[in-house]
Structures are given as structure tokens and as C-alpha cells.
């Protein structure tokens, strides 16, 4: 019974924020773009002329109905991938995105094999 109540609460928890479609968050986009003339800052953190211009470009792109991903594509084509803090999932970055999970699976497998070996013996 208790479990059922918990499950219900659990799902209500998540349903609260499902249906709504979020509008494009401009400041989130700013945080994902590197300020190319600064040292390790995003354009959200910088007031350099470059950052200010880029913020205006982003605003225009949103106005033209571009989606978040389209904005990133547009800017990386223009300035190179260096500008994106979130590296794209493409062939060149395949290892970057997959190795952590491979390591996770491998580590898990090692532990399982260590423990299994033991339980067979006993």
C-alpha cells in the first residue's frame, strides 16, 4: 500500500513539468558559447565587444525562428567548433562522448566478474 502511494507521488513529481514546452532560453545559449577574444569565458560572462555582438546575433537568430541547435550549427560554421562549449556529437568527437560510458561498462563488468568468480567457488 505504502509503496503504491509513493509510486503515485513519484509520478506526480515528474508530471508537473512534462507537458509544458519551454521557450528558447537565451542566457542558456549565451553560456554555451565561448567568447573567442577572452580567456576561458562564455559570452554570458563577458562584456567584450565580441560578446556583445554575438549576443545580438543570437537574438536575431531567435527572432528569425531558428532553434537552439540551428543557432549552434550556424555559429560553429562561421567561427569553428571552438566556439561551442558543448562539443557536437560527430565522428571526430565519438571517442569523447563514448569512452566514459565504455569505461563505466567495463568497470562494472570487472566488478561483476570478480564477485562472480567468488560465488562460483563457494
Amino acid at each position: 500500500m505504502k509503496i503504491k502511494i509513493f509510486l503515485i507521488i513519484f509520478f506526480i513529481n515528474f508530471n508537473l513539468n512534462l507537458g509544458s514546452i519551454e521557450p528558447i532560453d537565451e542566457s542558456k545559449i549565451h553560456k554555451n558559447l565561448r567568447c573567442l577574444v577572452c580567456q576561458g569565458q562564455s559570452i554570458a560572462d563577458s562584456n567584450s565587444e565580441f560578446a556583445l555582438t554575438l549576443k545580438m546575433v543570437v537574438k536575431d537568430l531567435i527572432k528569425n525562428g531558428k532553434s537552439e541547435d540551428e543557432i549552434y550549427d550556424f555559429l560553429s560554421e562561421k567561427y569553428g567548433d571552438w566556439i561551442l562549449y558543448n562539443p557536437k556529437l560527430n565522428v571526430g568527437n565519438l571517442l569523447l562522448w563514448s569512452l566514459p560510458y565504455l569505461a563505466l561498462v567495463l568497470g562494472g563488468a570487472i566488478i561483476v566478474s570478480l564477485v562472480r568468480k567468488q560465488s562460483k567457488k563457494t
Partner: protein, 624 residues
């Protein structure tokens, strides 16, 4: 004058170090189990000489002896005395001297505190540690000598980068160095242990205190660094997954894993080779971190001083270290048949190590990957916060559950785990999360999971204090505060408010529930900088509270630099964080305002986390 003294002391240290190595080899040949008295004496002399050498450099900074290039480049007569002193280790050459101090002092302390361990193991540790010391001393003398002189002697110095003139940054390097340079001693001990076949339980006992103390300092060091980044760099965040921040985190992951695997080694005499690998890995990562920071190979906010020739030296040193340790491991490795039950404490500690390695690999990969893509395909990419957040955070959820359950399980046996109780705690955690989302604000699925899992860890660790059996408070405090750390980071992330707008003098702007007014701007002259101080009034329209914040734009004279000082109002519930910056060719000022709930609790959680470490150190010292 001080240049000669310094160089003489450096040469003296090199001779002492070489003599220790020489004497140690002779000592190894003797069949009795006593270490020569002379080795103790020279070790003491060696530490003292290095300390005097360092104080000589501090002295040169205090009296502004510009005949030293190092002082000329990093100091200025008008700098406050406190920053003259902290400037000593705020630069590459001076900080290396601090490296060597910690290497030698740890070497000496390890020698005199481990008297109940066999001679061969101790002497071998001493030899390896002193080879490391020698390597760094040569590096200092030939490549990064803080005592190099300049002629003609300049009248005035160039000054210290103003964003480094800060109390937090004055204590940040020493704390961090005790942490990751301290790991050198268990690097040496691990090598010695493999060479002399001194394995198992007693080896674990001999290095445990050292691992705990370096871990505690490393934790504090990282904390002070991120507090500094929070109020000084002006973006309002405290962790940017910047390469240099990552460099301090990598050894921390390895240390944390080691800290736990040593428990298994001490209790059950298994996982010996794994623990050795972790010992070697921790110090290797520390040197790697230094390499990354000092070589300037990575683009980072923190890379203040860099020079390729240093990089090449550290890289060769690093390769040599890795090669030697891998060789020794392979030469001496013996497969062991460790006995582990699935539902035992050992398994859960292995799971801790498993996750630590996952974090480590992810952060290492993210930090180094851009270098590889640049070298291989000439394509420069950035790996920033979105990558780390999306890869690491979901895994943290699972990790926290294991972290809560692990300590409840018994050693060796397939101990009985009470799943009913766990389910109740999960229920409680979900209820807490429900209350937060219902009354305050709903957030994403992953945030829900983070809050639930961290509350689960908090509750279940808290309940451990009511156990009848003996309680390990150090562990409870550390696990408890780690739960709180993640919990507060989660809340802080989801409930932060951020506004970015432009204002000119006298203007008022209304955004959501707040009115912002730029009431006043005044120019003020200080010793080493002048500042434009803004007076910004924030009125909360829902509660009618009024607050005034005073952000600054500072113009430092030596060297000429523009910095933006955030104005922060902290209390136990929230931080108000505001920065102001000028916009070129306009009389408008750009204002960034943030309301960050429960910010101070993030810092408190980390202080508690490292306090758990110190407590465990005391406990361990008492038991031995």
C-alpha cells in the same frame, strides 16, 4: 646579494639530497635493521635548508629586492605587505619552491613517524622521494630559478596580476600543494612497497594517515579556489570545468578512491595491486596537473604564467615517472585470488572506486581531448560545462544511492541488507522532493533524481548515527556533508535567478519582481588602484525590502589592469550577487544580477567534508 644566498642554499639542498640518496644505498647493504643516524640528521638539515631558502625568497619579496628577476616580475614597492608575501608563491618559480618544501618535509616526517615498519621499505621510500626532490631541485636551478638576477637593477617592479591579489588566493596554493604534492609520499612508499615486497595490511597502515591528510587539504584547497572564482571572476558560478580546475579535481578522484580501497587492504588484505596503482596514479595526476597549468598548453582563465620550455621538462619528468612505475609494476606483479562476496562492504568500496574512475576518466578525457583533436585534425574544439554536466550528473544519481547503502553492509559476509528500511528512506526522500517541487518550483527530471538521491544519502547516513554498534563519525560526517553538497548544488542550480540589463546613472528598471536603480557612481583612489564604485538599489516589490549593493570597476596601476569586483550580500538563505561593467562608447553600464539561494551552504558542506577527513586522521593516529 639575496640571489647568491638563494643559489647557494639551492646547491646546498642538492648536495644534501644527493648525500641522503648515497647514504641510503649504503644503509640498504647493511644487514641490521637500523637506519643510520646520519640519514636522520641530513634529512633534517635538508628540510631546514629548503625552508631557509624559501624564507630568503619571501625576504626578497618583502624588501622588494628587484635584483631578482622573479621579484621584479611579480612585485611592486606599493603593493600591500600581505600580497608581497603571498606573491612569493603566486608565481611559477616560487610555487615550485613550495613544491619542494612539501616534498622534503613529508619525506622527513615519513622517515621519523614510521619506525615500526621494516628498514628496507623505509629506506627505499626515502630514496625514491629524494629522487623526486632532486628532479624538482634541478628543474628549479636550471629552468625556473627564482634567484636569477637581473642587471642593471630595475628601480620598480612590474607588479602582481591584480586578480591574484586576494586573501583566498594567498592560501589556495599552499592548501592545494599539501594535498597533491603530499601524495608524492605514498607514490614513493608504493614503489618501495613493490620493490621490497612489503605488502598488505601493514603497508596500508603506513600510508593511510598520509592519504587522509592530503585528501583533506586537497578538498580545502579546491574549496578555497572555487570560492575565489566565485567572488573574483565575476560570473557568479563556482565551478566552470575549466582545465585548471579539472587539474585539481583529477588527483582528488584518485585520492578518494585510494582512501576507500585502503580500508579494504587494511581489513582484508586484498586489492593490494589496485591500491598501488591508485597511489602511483594520484601523484602522476598531480604532476600532470602542474604540467597542464604551467605549460600553457590549455586555454584557461587560470593560466597566468606559462612557458613551453617548462612544459617540456615537466613532461619528460612525468614520462620518466610513469615509465618507471609501470615497469616496476609489471616486473613485480603477481596475480592474486581475492575473495569478494557480492553483498559485502568490499564490493561497495569497489563500486566507489568504479565510479571514481568513471569521473576521473571523463574529466581527464574532457580536459585532454581538445589537445588531441587539435593535433590530429587541426580542429579546435571546446569541452565545457554542458559536456561534463550531461555525462556526469546522471551517474552521480546512482553513485549517491550506493554511497548511502555501502557503509551499512558488513565486511566479508553476504551481509543481510534490509531492503524494507531502504524503501522507506527512498519514500522519505521522494516526499521531500515532492514538497520542494509542489511548494516552490518544479524542475527537470534529472534535477528531481539528484534531489531525491542526495536526500536519500542524507537521511540514511543520518540514521546510521543511531546504530548500536560502534559509530565512525568521520565517515558519517563526510558522507553526510557530501549528500548536502549535492543537495545544495541541486537547489542552488534550480532556484537561481539571473538578470542581465543595462542602466545609466539615475535610471530605474523594473524586471519581474525587482526594481533596480543606479543611484550613484563615485570615483575613489586607493593605494594601488582607483575604483569606480556603483551604488545600486534593489527593491523587492513582493516584500518591499530594499538593499544597496556596491559593485566596483577597478583600475590597477601596476600592472595596468581593469577588473570588475562583484558585490555580494550573503546570508544563510541566499546570496545577492551583482557585477557592473562599463560599455565602450556609451554612458550605460551593464549589470548582471543573480540571486543564488543557499549558496553559503555549498561552502559549509565542503568544509564539513574535509573536517570529516581531519577527524578520520586523528582517529587513525589514535588507533596506531
Amino acid at each position: 646579494m639575496l640571489s647568491n644566498t638563494g643559489n647557494f642554499l639551492l646547491l646546498l639542498s642538492i648536495s644534501f639530497t644527493s648525500f641522503i640518496i648515497y647514504q641510503s644505498f649504503i644503509c640498504l647493504k647493511e644487514t641490521n635493521d637500523v637506519i643510520f643516524k646520519s640519514i636522520y640528521k641530513i634529512s633534517l638539515l635538508q628540510s631546514t635548508t629548503i625552508l631557509i631558502c624559501f624564507f630568503t625568497l619571501i625576504g626578497a619579496f618583502i624588501v622588494s629586492d628587484f635584483s631578482l628577476i622573479n621579484v621584479y616580475q611579480n612585485s611592486h614597492t606599493l603593493k600591500p605587505i600581505f600580497y608581497k608575501i603571498s606573491g612569493t608563491w603566486g608565481n611559477h618559480e616560487g610555487s615550485l619552491l613550495l613544491w619542494v618544501i612539501i616534498l622534503t618535509i613529508f619525506s622527513f616526517l615519513f622517515l621519523i613517524t614510521n619506525k615500526n615498519h621494516p628498514k628496507n621499505y623505509r629506506v627505499n621510500t626515502l630514496i625514491i622521494q629524494n629522487i623526486l626532490i632532486l628532479g624538482f631541485l634541478f628543474f628549479i636551478l636550471f629552468n625556473s630559478n627564482p634567484f636569477s638576477s637581473i642587471s642593471p637593477i630595475p628601480k620598480e617592479g612590474l607588479g602582481l596580476n591584480p586578480i591574484l591579489q586576494d586573501p583566498a588566493l594567498a592560501i589556495h596554493p599552499p592548501l592545494l600543494y599539501v594535498g597533491f604534492v603530499g601524495s608524492s609520499i605514498y607514490f614513493s612508499a608504493a614503489m618501495a612497497s613493490v620493490i621490497t615486497n612489503y605488502s598488505g595490511k601493514s603497508f596500508a597502515q603506513s600510508i593511510k594517515s598520509w592519504v587522509i591528510i592530503s585528501w583533506s587539504f586537497q578538498t580545502l584547497g579546491i574549496l578555497v579556489g572555487s570560492i575565489w572564482a566565485y567572488y573574483e571572476l565575476g560570473w557568479g558560478g563556482f565551478w566552470f570545468w575549466d582545465p585548471v580546475e579539472n587539474a585539481s579535481l583529477l588527483p582528488w578522484f584518485a585520492m578518494t578512491a585510494l582512501l576507500h580501497s585502503l580500508l579494504v587492504l587494511e581489513k582484508r588484505n586484498i586489492l593490494y595491486f589496485w591500491s598501488i596503482i591508485l597511489c602511483l596514479l594520484t601523484f602522476t595526476l598531480s604532476v600532470t596537473g602542474t604540467f597542464l597549468v604551467r605549460s600553457g598548453i590549455l586555454n584557461s582563465v587560470h593560466t597566468f604564467a606559462n612557458d613551453p620550455s617548462r612544459g617540456i621538462y615537466i613532461l619528460s619528468f612525468l614520462s620518466l615517472m610513469i615509465f618507471a612505475s609501470v615497469y616496476i609494476l609489471f616486473a613485480k606483479y603477481k596475480p592474486t585470488h581475492d575473495q569478494i562476496n557480492s553483498n559485502s562492504k568490499e564490493t561497495f568500496i569497489l563500486i566507489n572506486n568504479w565510479f571514481m574512475m568513471f569521473y576521473l576518466i571523463t574529466v581527464l578525457l574532457g580536459t585532454l581531448y581538445p589537445i588531441f583533436t587539435d593535433a590530429i585534425s587541426n580542429n579546435k574544439i571546446s569541452v565545457g560545462p554542458p559536456f561534463y554536466n550531461s555525462v556526469i550528473i546522471p551517474v552521480v544519481v546512482v553513485f549517491l544511492f550506493f554511497m548511502a547503502v555501502g557503509p551499512k553492509v558488513k565486511w566479508i559476509k553476504n551481509g543481510f541488507l534490509n531492503f524494507k528500511d531502504l524503501l522507506k528512506i527512498i519514500g522519505g526522500a521522494i516526499a521531500v522532493n515532492f514538497v520542494i517541487t509542489y511548494f516552490f518550483k518544479s524542475y527537470s527530471l534529472i534535477s528531481n533524481l539528484i534531489i531525491i538521491s542526495s536526500v536519500f544519502l542524507i537521511i540514511s547516513t543520518f540514521l546510521d548515527t543511531f546504530k548500536k554498534s560502534k559509530i565512525n563519525f568521520a565517515r558519517i560526517i563526510s558522507h553526510f556533508s557530501f549528500g548536502f553538497l549535492i543537495f545544495f548544488i541541486g537547489l542552488n542550480h534550480n532556484f537561481s535567478i539571473e538578470k542581465d540589463f543595462n542602466l545609466k546613472l539615475g535610471e530605474t528598471i523594473k524586471i519581474d519582481n525587482y526594481n533596480f536603480k543606479l543611484k550613484d557612481l563615485k570615483l575613489q583612489q586607493y593605494d594601488n588602484y582607483k575604483a569606480v564604485i556603483g551604488k545600486i538599489q534593489i527593491s523587492d516589490l513582493s516584500t518591499n525590502e530594499k538593499r544597496t549593493l556596491n559593485p566596483e570597476i577597478r583600475i590597477y596601476n601596476n600592472p595596468q589592469t581593469l577588473t570588475y569586483e562583484a558585490s555580494i550580500k550573503t546570508n544563510f538563505f541566499r546570496d545577492y550577487y551583482l557585477t557592473m561593467s562599463n560599455i565602450d562608447r556609451s554612458d550605460y553600464y551593464n549589470i548582471k544580477f543573480q540571486k543564488k539561494p543557499l549558496m553559503i551552504w555549498i561552502w559549509i558542506s565542503v568544509v564539513m567534508l574535509s573536517f570529516g577527513g581531519f577527524l578520520s586522521f586523528i582517529r587513525n593516529a589514535k588507533n596506531n
